[in-house]
């Protein structure tokens, strides 16, 4: 069982990463990553909603028939997003002012749909929750990576305004990498999103390919 969870975690974070492997949820991944902080905000909001809705889908999995599962999944996802949106607006208003823009976008994230269909609708609530959470965290990691590359090249900063999202204690991670006004504007505009995402997908595939090549060699070494 522990092994299962390990696979779930590894799949979510790397092997089956939502953005870089499954290429899902690319719209928010590219639209929202003008800075690493934005990517982090969007990613965390998505992780919370996907984890909670995966858990719900799993709880209702024996009630939902095959024929109506898609509308019910969308309903669950949309309801969760709306509840989070309203609750944050009312009770976490400062955070809402930063993330508010992103939250409605989570409804159209195919990542949640894919996890409902492939995992949550066939698993008990706890694994479904863990799967949703780590898929979401993998998504967060991807968004932070895309956002960081675009932000450093585009505006010369890293994690600018992170203290608005995470609290004043995180002022220290707001870095200026390049001098002001030297950024390549294109990286913050949509073309930069496509370029960065593409190059990061290539990078991940190269790392995976290298790991795959190293593995048989190691095994042979172990035998010798």
């Amino acid at each position: 069982m522990a092994n299962d969870y390990k696979t779930i975690v590894k799949d979510g974070l790397w092997d089956n990463n939502g953005v870089f492997s499954m290429m899902l949820g690319l719209c928010p991944a590219m639209a929202m990553t003008t800075s690493a902080t934005n990517g982090l905000g969007m990613g965390l909001a998505t992780a919370a909603v996907v984890a909670a809705s995966c858990c719900l889908v799993s709880l209702f999995r024996n009630l939902i028939t095959r024929e109506v599962r898609i509308p019910v999944f969308i309903l669950i996802s949309a309801a969760m997003v709306t509840i989070v949106d309203l609750a944050m607006n009312a009770w976490m208003h400062d955070l809402y002012k930063v993330l508010g823009l992103f939250i409605p976008l989570i409804v159209v994230n195919c990542l949640s749909m894919a996890r409902f269909e492939a995992f949550a609708s066939k698993s008990p609530p706890l694994p479904a929750f863990v799967d949703g959470l780590f898929m979401g965290l993998g998504f967060t990691g991807a968004l932070v990576a895309i956002g960081a590359v675009r932000e450093v090249i585009g505006s010369g900063t890293l994690f600018a305004d992170a203290s608005l999202l995470l609290g004043p204690a995180f002022k220290v991670i707001e870095l200026r990498i390049l001098p002001a006004d030297t950024g390549v504007l294109m990286m913050i505009l949509p073309p930069g999103a496509f370029l960065t995402t593409g190059l990061l997908v290539v990078a991940k595939r190269m790392i995976d390919a290298r790991a795959a090549r190293a593995e048989p060699a190691e095994a042979a070494h172990g035998l010798a």
């Binding site: 209702f60 009630l63 019910v72 309903l75 009312a90 009770w91």
Partner: protein, 250 residues
């Protein structure tokens, strides 16, 4: 084989939704198998049975119940958060107003001292009034300009004598790094209007330099400052045209 024979006898397949329906001859148990698995999982002891009719009504009931249930949950959430959200919206408005109405010139709460007017284009404008000892000392209202990427929403504060108390951007979709220098936190461009009025400079000079006005555009962006200036000019015109009503009781 029995399955096939049954299908042939009845003139149609026993599958529905890519599943074969059958009964185990020995135990009488219902058997449903994905069509792909048929040759392996169905042996002679399985007798094909007629598939059950499609359960359209049941699907409808399931979907309907989920809609009803989540609808209820959403209604409850809405009820619970309604008052708090309204309070937060009021605070937000108070914050944006406090940027264009200095605390020193009023002793009332401008957020609640409002006046509904219509501008030259029949658009409704909510005017917030600042009063000191009952006399109107200034007003603030939202103005809108057309930027490079859509509408720019600003808040304009103006003293009873027609001098600008301040202009702040509330929302915009301008290009980051170029057009967003109109935000107060990204540059001091927006601060230059404080103290000016509709006659200082004269109306025809309320433009960017490229259009023959007296205000700098910024590097790489002309359309954004042009939109902001157009909005401010419109706001000043609105004040000039409605001065009597706006400053009633000053």
């Amino acid at each position: 084989m029995l399955v096939r024979a049954w299908a042939a006898m009845h003139g149609f397949g026993v599958q529905r939704n890519k599943r074969w329906h059958g009964t185990c001859e020995a135990s009488g148990k219902q058997i449903i198998r994905p069509i792909m698995n048929l040759p392996h999982t169905l042996s002679a002891e399985f007798v094909a049975t007629k598939p059950p009719p499609p359960r359209t009504l049941m699907h409808g009931v399931i979907l309907g119940s989920f809609c009803l249930g989540f609808g209820l949950v959403l209604a409850i959430t809405d009820r619970l958060t309604l008052a708090d959200i309204a309070a937060r919206a009021l605070e937000d408005r108070q914050n944006s107003l406090s940027q264009v109405i200095p605390a020193g010139i009023h002793d009332n709460n401008p957020v609640t001292d409002t006046l509904l007017m219509t501008d030259a284009r029949d658009k409704e404008i909510t005017v917030y009034r600042a009063r000191k000892a009952g006399r109107v000392t200034g007003v603030a209202y939202e103005i809108y300009g057309t930027g490079y990427a859509g509408e720019i929403k600003l808040m304009l504060g103006i003293a009873a004598d027609g001098k600008l108390l301040g202009v702040r951007v509330l929302a915009h979709k301008e290009t980051p790094g170029l057009g967003d220098k109109i935000e107060e936190k990204k540059g001091d461009w927006i601060l230059r209007f404080t103290g000016l009025s509709f006659t200082d400079p004269p109306p025809e000079r309320w433009k960017v330099k490229r259009d023959g006005g007296q205000f700098d555009q910024f590097a790489g962006a002309t359309i954004t400052p042009r939109g902001v200036l157009g909005a401010i000019r419109g706001g000043l015109e609105f004040f000039a045209a409605n001065k009597a009503k706006l400053t009633e009781g000053s």
